[in-house]
């Protein structure tokens, strides 16, 4: 049976498609071709004509667009209503969403509302179990095992990590834009206020992440990380101990209980490499570790390693890079 693949698209700054959305379009196109199916995409927001037009050029057959002021910011009840109305007429599909804050909040609601099987936090989707539909691969037990799962319901939903798909080149082809009715319900969950801090480069979107661990010894150490991160246009992260000790904000935590990142380049400074941290960054392109302990587990999962006191190694590294990159 041909598969109907549908991508749930997301925007940043209310207007631009996220990088992960582009990756999902690539992943969706790959699955549509492997399963002899078709690719559709759904986008919710306000004043989103440009983004919808871009999606139409990325290989989608239909671009479902709900464009309405009440959809500018995410509200679970309102978003659920719009998606439920679209999808309850479809008896079989595979819906791909990013493993993002909205994806993590919305997809379980949708899955239970539609009796759809949901696999969250996928690091791969394969066509490896003929007759079962897509096989969804996800880390479990803090990343100590990878489970391959199939969904027995004809409606399937997956939330997918960054870097699983590859952003496609625009085909120039015109997908058909289909306008969805605006939401009608009064949401039970209401947002009263939003407090955001300007964090510079967002950890999740950053192509370079410089992280520190317990061995940083205190808040001061993180200024040295900041210097390297700034030089490379990256963001500063941390393993759990520095966050628990209050050396950095909890929002900097990378790992199974924090953020999951997959930058091109990951610097692990004075991080030993607990599984809970590794499962948040092991998909990084290249991993560079600096640690005083030559036996530290982090060296087993890194591409480049330097043994030594970070207080001496890191400033020399940063200074040398400053000169070399000029």
């Amino acid at each position: 049976m041909p598969e109907k693949i549908i991508v749930f698209a997301e925007l940043e700054d209310y207007a631009c498609l996220t990088r992960l959305t582009l990756e999902l379009m690539g992943l969706g196109a790959r699955l549509a071709s492997e399963f002899d199916g078709e690719l559709d995409v759904v986008l919710l927001g306000d004043g989103i004509g440009d983004a919808a037009g871009e999606l139409a050029s990325l290989g989608a057959r239909h671009v479902y667009v709900a464009d309405h002021p009440t959809l500018q910011t995410y509200n679970p009840d309102v978003y659920l209503e719009v998606l439920k109305r679209l999808l309850q007429t479809e008896s079989a599909f595979t819906l791909l969403a990013g493993h993002t804050p909205a994806g993590q909040d919305l997809m379980p609601r949708l899955a239970f509302a539609l009796e759809a099987g949901l696999v969250t936090d996928c690091v791969g989707i394969e066509n490896s179990s003929p007759g079962d539909g897509p096989v969804f691969i996800k880390p479990i037990f803090g990343g100590n095992a990878l489970a391959s799962q199939v969904v027995s319901t004809p409606r399937r939903i997956a939330t997918v990590r960054a870097r699983v798909g590859t952003a496609p080149e625009p085909t120039g082809g015109g997908g058909e834009l289909v306008a969805l009715d605006p939401p009608t319900i009064e949401p039970l969950v209401k947002t009263l206020d939003r407090t955001t801090e300007d964090r510079g480069v967002k950890l999740e979107d950053s192509r370079v992440v410089v992280s520190g661990g317990r061995g940083m010894g205190g808040a001061e150490g993180f200024q040295a990380l900041d210097k390297l991160a700034t030089l490379l246009g990256g963001a500063v992260g941390a393993s759990r101990p520095p966050c628990d000790s209050g050396w950095v904000k909890a929002s900097a935590q990378i790992g199974i209980t924090g953020k999951i990142v997959a930058p091109d380049l990951y610097f692990a400074i004075a991080i030993s490499g607990s599984s809970q941290h590794l499962s948040g960054m092991s998909e990084a392109g290249k991993i560079i570790a600096i640690n005083q302990d030559p036996e530290a587990f982090i060296f087993k999962v890194a591409d480049y390693g330097a043994v030594g006191d970070w207080k001496l190694v890191l400033p020399a590294l940063t200074e040398a890079l400053e000169k070399l990159l000029e």
Binding site: P76, R109, F112
Partner: protein, 268 residues
């Protein structure tokens, strides 16, 4: 009557345990855990802490009642009693062979918990944002969906204000304040803070707190449903990479050598 709060708590192998305590049995498609004691799922401990803070914040009316709800094949009484001793008033345990964690998918988990909660008085249901074993993050919201009550996820603060629940919800770049009418379900994140330690006296007297045990026969109908997600294979992660060690004279030389190497290899 006071507010009834139900806190769902799963027992999991200690997620802070070393990586070599977990191995993969590809044949049975199960994760085998060696020598790691069960602990309360850390996020569920955060949920219990949230419940206790709500109870403490109340200055008028009947005190809130906190019910701990846990499900598993064979629940460690040491772990659940210690959790109860931090501030629960009673507990409901769903226990028996069919409730083995690795045999149940999120949909059945949520169905069993929702069926149990439906038989209790509740105003607020709290769960952790996800379990440390499956990392699935769908049971909390699933329970709300099955009960037909509003759900708010990833809370860093939970308060009851005039018949509504008001929540600070973690965003990647800050937080938002959201509100829902009761009854409601909230999933709690670690930003709220660790569960307090119980006093020794409380641990000693915890076993006298009312406990109710539900067995498979109490949930026959719900158990007859099949899961929606099936595990077809299990593999050990291949995280290991071949690491090029950069070696030079002094630590400063090492730093400079690393910089040169990263550029030479076009990593930068």
């Amino acid at each position: 009557m006071g507010l009834n709060i139900i806190v769902c708590m799963k027992l999991v192998p200690d997620p802070e345990g070393p990586a070599d305590s977990f191995s993969v049995d590809a044949e049975s498609k199960r994760v085998v855990v060696h020598g790691l004691p069960p602990v309360a799922n850390p996020y569920d401990e955060n949920a219990l802490e949230a419940a206790i803070r709500i109870k403490e914040a109340q200055s008028v009316g009947d005190p809130a009642r906190i019910t701990l709800l846990s499900m598993g094949r064979n629940l460690s009484r040491a772990v659940v009693l210690k959790a109860m001793a931090t501030g629960a008033d009673d507990a409901v345990f769903i226990e028996g062979e069919p409730f083995e964690a690795q045999a149940l998918d999120s949909h059945i988990n949520a169905t069993l918990l929702a069926a149990t909660i439906r038989r209790l008085d509740y105003d607020l249901v709290l769960t952790g944002r996800q379990a440390a074993d499956t990392n699935s993050g769908q049971v909390g919201v699933g329970i709300a969906q099955l009960l037909g009550i509003p759900a708010i996820t990833v809370a860093q603060r939970v308060e009851i204000i005039e018949g509504t629940v008001q929540v600070e919800r973690v965003l990647p770049d800050g937080y938002e304040v959201v509100q829902a009418p009761l009854p409601a379900l909230v999933t709690v994140s670690h930003e709220i803070g660790d569960l307090r330690y119980p006093t020794l006296t409380a641990i000693r007297t915890a076993k006298q707190l009312p406990q109710k045990v539900l067995s498979p026969s109490d949930l026959n109908g719900e158990l007859s449903s099949n899961g929606l997600v099936k595990r077809v294979a299990l593999a050990a992660p291949s995280r290991e990479r071949s690491c090029a060690m950069v070696i030079a004279g002094t630590p400063e030389d090492t730093g400079r050598e690393l910089a040169a190497r990263l550029l030479a290899d076009r990593v930068l």
